[in-house]
Symmetry: C2
Subunit: 325 residues, 2 copies
Amino acid sequence: MEGGTLGTITVGVDVGGTKIQSAAVREKKVAGVHRLLTPLTGAKDVAAAIGEAVGKALADGGAQPTDLEAVGMGVPGAIDTEAGTVSSSPNLPGFQDARPVALGAMVSEALGGVPVRLDNDVRVAILGEWKRGAGRPYRNLLGVWVGTGVGGGLVLDGRLHDGQGAAGEIGHTIVKPGGRLCSDGRKGHLEAYAGRGQMEVEARHRVKQGHKTELFDIMERKGRTRLSSGVWAAALEKHDKMARELIDDAMWALGTGLASVQNLLALEAIVIGGGLGDRLGPTFVQRIRDEMQPLLFVPDRPPAMLSSEFGDLSGAVGAAVLAGG
Amino acid sequence: MEGGTLGTITVGVDVGGTKIQSAAVREKKVAGVHRLLTPLTGAKDVAAAIGEAVGKALADGGAQPTDLEAVGMGVPGAIDTEAGTVSSSPNLPGFQDARPVALGAMVSEALGGVPVRLDNDVRVAILGEWKRGAGRPYRNLLGVWVGTGVGGGLVLDGRLHDGQGAAGEIGHTIVKPGGRLCSDGRKGHLEAYAGRGQMEVEARHRVKQGHKTELFDIMERKGRTRLSSGVWAAALEKHDKMARELIDDAMWALGTGLASVQNLLALEAIVIGGGLGDRLGPTFVQRIRDEMQPLLFVPDRPPAMLSSEFGDLSGAVGAAVLAGG
């Protein structure tokens, strides 16, 4: 592919509630990246910001707007991939309604008619890790994205598995019947123990009961209003007892849930990513493996337990893959 | 296909530890069946009995041995489908060793060289229900076989899913961490609550602790040495408290385990079969659905909950499908 032209380029965009991360991909390699804050002012401004993030990633990769072949996007919420619409997004301003918004068309228009594809953010991140990252060698793998919630995506027999829609919701598998309350109002789900949102609910509950922790002091010192992954990591470094207990619970819940999935699906690999997964890294993955291993039905064929390779770029890389890059 | 000849015929054989069930299949319809007791005297006698079961099913279907095109078998244990061997069978006399026995070749030889294929008994039964029975309309389904143990098989995107081997072991998913002891020595597995083997262990344990039940009287009156599906059904009819409690536990465990699987895989259908599943029938399936429904993440798209269509013929029909019938 050497020659007078650098060839065409595809841009993937990971559209989050806080930031928009873009990656320009040329010949399957990341050539340029850009990150900007997500506007809080509605769908139109989000679409414009995505257009800007695409342009900046192109420029960072030394490419012209005319080199742009296609754009892919990973977006939180319910996605109609055919229609290119987004609805019921948990945290993206302008897309929280049940009424679908045609984000695909809006971004395409902002970019002069370039083809745009979109899919759910977690599915897209796992697509990135499978096609370009840690999951490359495998045909049967589970991606587990541990962040505010716990999302997942399954590759089975070399294909992303969708079932009758909404497959991969490993966060809502039951690890402890009648256990801790989950974000969806049901009890004992994996996400109730390993999702940062519910971990924070539990921490606040324990503080009210009189238990001590440095978690919220660290949060304030960092200028945060939520227990971010960085706050959890800092508290662990300070040997904070409550942080240790809650992270232990998270690893126990992940080990238990993943053992059940492994016993059912006989996967080759499990890739752990997401905000908290990336921040706590290989130690976290190793400890989850230690929790899982004694629960495996076929202990001599455990899945390879892997950290995501692209970290918080997984989504943008996967979005580029979605668009053919 | 009308004409001077009835066309070729395929025979499927479900090889169990107690009985050998055969079904002759012509033009996708069951034309003849036969059932005989499994010899307890070793692999050679089992192979000969399978040969006899094939011949009797052919005769029952009004066919000649020369009409026989192929034989399929479902066999409990670890199967090498390429080599046609069986090893580590939990309950088939002559095949319990870790050393593989070439059952495929033995049966082929006994039948004058006819092609023989074999696979795991539960996988084969689920293949039968998927291709010819209750699962026909679906591309994503789980078969759950509730008998002495709890086995399973997955059809995903229109293909039987094997993973890296041994996929479908839903019996060894964890429904209650630290809970009742399972047949494999681990705790809290679905099979510990819903497999007849562990249900009997629990019933005997409760009797030792002084609890009352008619289960074992019924067993003796029926001339059994184990709590068969028929014994459980009879005890339920007599409103036996312990039987009721243990069956309630089984339905709770199945509902909980299946909800997790559904949340992960977004299946279209779940087919419940096996000895206990068939014996307790639609009421059992309905109650499992009632346990599962409140635990579903997407409650408005529950899987169709179905009883097996062929009952204890599922395995033989599936074995015929395996052989191309």
